[in-house]
Assembly symmetry: C2
Homo-oligomer: 161 residues x 2
């Protein structure tokens, strides 16, 4: 049988292995930092941040899910926990009674404001400062190309608005 899928050559394989290590190490590093300093996971931080920059600090669950690259069940569970902690509030959406709005509370905003500087410092130290300006642009292009292939319709990773 013919080999339909050629092995990865040396360069391909080097890039892939380096990326795999990154995928394994960076998320846990982000979670550790946020957990240690603010008792938030990186995903929870993303949810709160997304709300913060949304009109009226509010979004529909489904829009929030898309904006944070999450599935709706996952988001629902996370919002439940955040709600228990008083950082977020659910309110039924008046225009569509199937829908639910999630809104950042004042306490949530304060938590986020407290957590953000340390998190940015960490991102800067680990990611930004490890690269030069040129690499920063390359990284954006590379990551965008790959996520574009994963999500051709571009449903995810929209900015709040």
């Amino acid at each position: 049988m013919t080999r339909l899928v050629p092995r990865l050559d040396a360069e391909e394989s080097a890039a892939w292995l380096a990326l795999v290590s990154l995928l394994e190490l960076l998320p846990s590093a982000l979670d550790s930092q946020l957990q240690r300093d603010s008792e938030l996971t990186h995903f929870e931080f993303a949810v709160l941040s997304y709300l913060r920059f949304s009109p009226d600090q509010t979004q529909r669950m489904s829009a929030l899910a898309v904006g944070t690259n999450a599935t709706l069940p996952r988001l629902s569970h996370v919002v439940t926990r955040l709600e228990r902690r008083g950082l977020v509030e659910r309110t039924p959406c008046p225009e569509d009674r199937r829908a639910t709005n999630a809104q950042l509370t004042d306490a949530g905003r304060r938590e986020l404001v407290r957590a953000t500087p340390g998190h940015i410092a960490f991102v800067r130290r680990v990611v930004i400062d490890s690269l030069d300006r040129e690499q920063l642009g390359q990284l954006a292009a590379i990551a965008t190309a790959i996520t574009g292939t994963l999500d051709p319709e571009g449903r995810f990773a929209a900015l709040p608005g």
Copy 2:
């Protein structure tokens, strides 16, 4: 109070947001493909692959943990599951009686051989083919720089040998 940690500027922020999306989307895509086609998680696949290219298809648990960027408890749980499925065997290490060797079984090797082409095809389609040759090198350099900052001693991501 002075702002000790400057915000991210437009380029920094674009790179960071693109990377965050990648960190969210790519791992679940890898897991989905492997789970669907081979009932393996990406991490299990990595463990089996690492063993496959180790002398005598064997490694000590701690070396395997380092090689796969995992903590020892996590690895131990995963090896337990793989062992239950007959893909891996644990044997006490004769030289150091605290240590445990994990060895790929014949069944494990067969499973891996069956799973690999589809996985490589997926990696090629999603990652490699989304980039040109130049970007491949850039990706390796960027990922290596970031993981290097996360893990200055370079303990992780060693190749089997």
